[in-house]
């Protein structure tokens, strides 16, 4: 194929012009500040939140809490994340954040090992890494902000379902993604607690909805058709429990198959009111994000180094101490029922 010199030149020139315009536009919308190395005089309070995925109500709330904290601190807030909850997608974002030279990354991990080396590269470059909600291996982050003890979270869910099905029968778990650290920790503890305290309850299946609404919806349908004697479903993920509730509320299993787990009041309100769900639990995700941001800022400013015993103040939430394994605990889970659900708006 022959191409005229003029044509090729024109094409290259117009491409350069288009790209320059594009990059100029991109630059003006850039949210990363020009933070230099952490040895600079002014602390680099550009903190970016990297949740498991975007478009998730739980993370919307938690990251808004983070934003509130960062505004109070006078830093710069940003939120990036993949559209679907996959670990390799998070790696690319972490790499970009390292390149941009942010001060701190707050990440909820999709996999406890897959994002490790990217996080370690970030830490080597001077970025402070804090995990919240879902942890990684301890050597890849400075701190982990845990919403409640894994034990406590597992116990409250097991207790709720046991009460709702009269302590006897088959149950199943609708989880998020098969690798999520927090999910696996909770599921393992639930199995232990069921074995020790609830011998008449049998866990027949664990399915994964990948924190995707349609998948969780379809998996709930699958559970009901594969296990006709199912009495209860535990869904320790806000996306899963909402989808399952929506399916149950229009099916003939409503009221016969009990559903509980971790959900946000706003998403669950109509299902609590119409009787599909009697009780579920959560904590305040906004507080979680708030605390995570303050912890990150404390690390950046050098107030704490993240080792056990360090203390710092987290704005309106008060003083916190770093516990074992470089973990900071937010509090205890809270049970929502139709009596108290209207008091909350998140």
């Amino acid at each position: 194929m022959t191409h005229g010199t003029l044509r090729t030149g024109l094409r290259a020139a117009s491409a350069v012009a288009a790209l320059s315009l594009l990059l100029a536009a991109g630059c003006s919308s850039s949210t990363a500040t020009s933070g230099t190395s952490s040895a600079s005089k002014k602390a680099n309070l550009a903190i970016t939140f990297l949740p498991k995925n975007l478009g998730n109500a739980y993370f919307d709330t938690s990251d808004k809490g983070g934003k509130k904290a960062i505004d109070e601190l006078g830093g710069t807030y940003a939120e990036v994340g993949p559209a679907a909850a996959a670990p390799d997608a998070q790696v690319q974002y972490i790499n970009t954040l390292t390149q941009q030279g942010v001060g701190g990354i707050d990440v909820s991990a999709n996999d406890k090992a897959a994002i490790c080396s990217a996080l370690q590269d970030a830490m080597t470059a001077g970025v402070k890494v804090v995990t919240y909600d879902s942890d990684t291996n301890p050597e890849c982050r400075n701190l982990f902000i845990n919403q409640a003890t894994a034990d406590g979270i597992a116990k409250v869910e097991v207790d709720m379902i046991a009460k709702q099905i009269n302590d006897t029968g088959e149950i199943a778990i609708l989880s998020a993604s098969a690798n999520a650290t927090n999910q696996n920790a909770w599921i393992d503890l639930m199995k232990t607690q069921l074995a020790s305290s609830h011998p008449n309850i049998k866990l027949v299946d664990v399915v994964y909805g990948n924190d995707d609404d349609q998948t969780s919806f379809d998996k709930t349908a699958g559970l009901l058709s594969a296990h006709p004697n199912l009495k209860g479903i535990i869904s320790p993920t806000t996306v899963g429990i909402t989808a399952a509730a929506r399916y149950l509320s229009t099916s003939s299993a409503k009221g016969k198959v009990m559903l509980t787990g971790l959900g946000t009041p706003n998403q669950m309100r109509q299902y609590v009111k119409d009787g599909t769900v009697t009780a579920f639990a959560l904590w305040n995700p906004a507080d979680l994000g708030y605390l995570a941001a303050y912890a990150t800022a404390a690390l950046i400013k050098g107030d704490i180094t993240g080792k056990t015993g360090d203390t710092f103040t987290a704005g309106t939430l008060g003083k916190f101490t770093v516990g074992a394994n470089n973990t900071v605990l937010l509090g205890d889970p809270y049970q929502f029922t139709k009596d108290n659900i209207d008091q909350f708006n998140f």
Partner: protein, 353 residues
């Protein structure tokens, strides 16, 4: 075929003798520089220059590392995808083979195998997958598009089925560090050495051997190639086997780089490879394309993505640009052809510009 003049009757004022191969009718510099591939290379250079000027943090070793590590699987697979597409076939199962090889590596290392042996087994699995593709395409005469859509689902299904929805994440540190290691201080990842070697091999195969000439011939006309003595079926099968093995190699790298072996690794990678290869000048109809264009195409998409992400532009815009670039580049080719066919051609024996 040059025209010869009869010395007995010399006609007056003959126009000068010219070769009528249009390929060789232009000076060397024009043949090399004014091609579709060079346009992509020029575009790549332009992107790099503009990005380095506009984004202060772009021209750093860290950027080069991230960029190259991100595109390494695509670079590797494009080396084999290009010849396949030049013959007029296509291989949509490469992404699934990356996933399957990743699962194989994960399962074997988990049961105690060493990384090199697990990697070899994975590459073998890839080759077998390629044989399946090649046989279905040549023996049964099925279109490559349909066969590889089927094997895309089959291999991905095997990967997910073998591992379930969990992932294996414990790999020997030596190897995972090696996968990400750099050459000295330059920021160029060490795996680029492997790629450079493979690139040299494939350049030689494709552009300097008769096997490579056969690949182009098959793409231009299977029947003519068969009648010229080229073993069409064997060539196509070999290319599919190479593609499977290369995808498996990319899968080994992918697993070590992300230290995570999952059934759904690299879902959708095949589309990225095809987009880059087509952008790099390989014609989907077959018979045309060169490796330097393909490499430039891959790097172009990689550099654009990296630069835009650095500038804070979200990744979805990058997808839009990739899509538009892809469509635009193939339409532009068609458009240019159409414009040229509308020009009135002067009736001379001299080769026209």
């Amino acid at each position: 075929m040059s025209t010869t003049t009869n010395t007995a009757t010399k006609p007056p004022a003959q126009p000068p003798v010219v070769k009528t191969y249009s390929d060789y009718g232009r000076p060397l510099w024009r043949r090399i520089l004014l091609t579709r591939e060079m346009a992509i290379v020029a575009l790549l250079v332009a992107v790099l220059v503009v990005a380095s000027i506009q984004l202060p943090r772009f021209a750093t070793p860290l950027t080069m590392t991230n960029l190259l590590l991100d595109v390494t699987p695509i670079l590797l697979i494009s080396l084999t995808m290009a010849p396949i597409m030049i013959t007029g076939d296509i291989d949509l199962s490469v992404g699934s083979m990356v996933g399957l090889s990743s699962v194989v590596v994960g399962l074997l290392t988990h049961s105690g195998w060493s990384i090199p042996s697990a990697g070899l087994v994975a590459i073998l699995v890839g080759a077998v997958g390629g044989v399946v593709n090649g046989l279905l395409v040549t023996r049964f005469g099925l279109p490559a598009l349909a066969v590889t859509i089927g094997t895309l689902a089959l291999y991905r299904g095997l990967a997910i089925g073998l591992l379930g929805t969990t992932a294996i994440t414990g790999f020997p540190r030596y190897w995972t560090q090696l996968a990400k290691s750099k050459i000295g201080d330059t920021g160029v990842p060490a795996v680029m050495i492997l790629f450079a070697v493979l690139l040299a091999v494939f350049v030689v195969i494709l552009h300097f051997t008769s096997f490579g000439r056969g690949v182009y011939a098959i793409g231009l006309s299977k029947d003519a190639a068969a009648f010229s003595g080229i073993h069409v079926a064997r060539t196509r099968v070999i290319l599919f086997v190479l593609s499977g093995a290369m995808s498996a190699l990319a899968g080994v790298f992918y697993t070590l780089r992300f230290t995570s072996s999952r059934g759904d690794n690299a879902t959708g990678l095949e589309l990225a490879v095809i987009a880059a290869v087509v952008l790099g000048g390989v014609s989907v109809f077959g018979g045309r394309g060169a490796l330097h264009g393909v490499v430039a195409g891959v790097l172009l998409i990689g550099a654009l993505s990296n630069a835009l992400r650095l500038a804070g532009v979200t990744s979805d815009v990058i997808n839009i640009i990739t899509g538009v670039l892809l469509v635009g580049s193939v339409i532009a080719g068609s458009l240019l052809q159409w414009i040229q066919s509308r020009r009135v051609r002067p009736a001379t024996t001299a080769a026209s510009a």
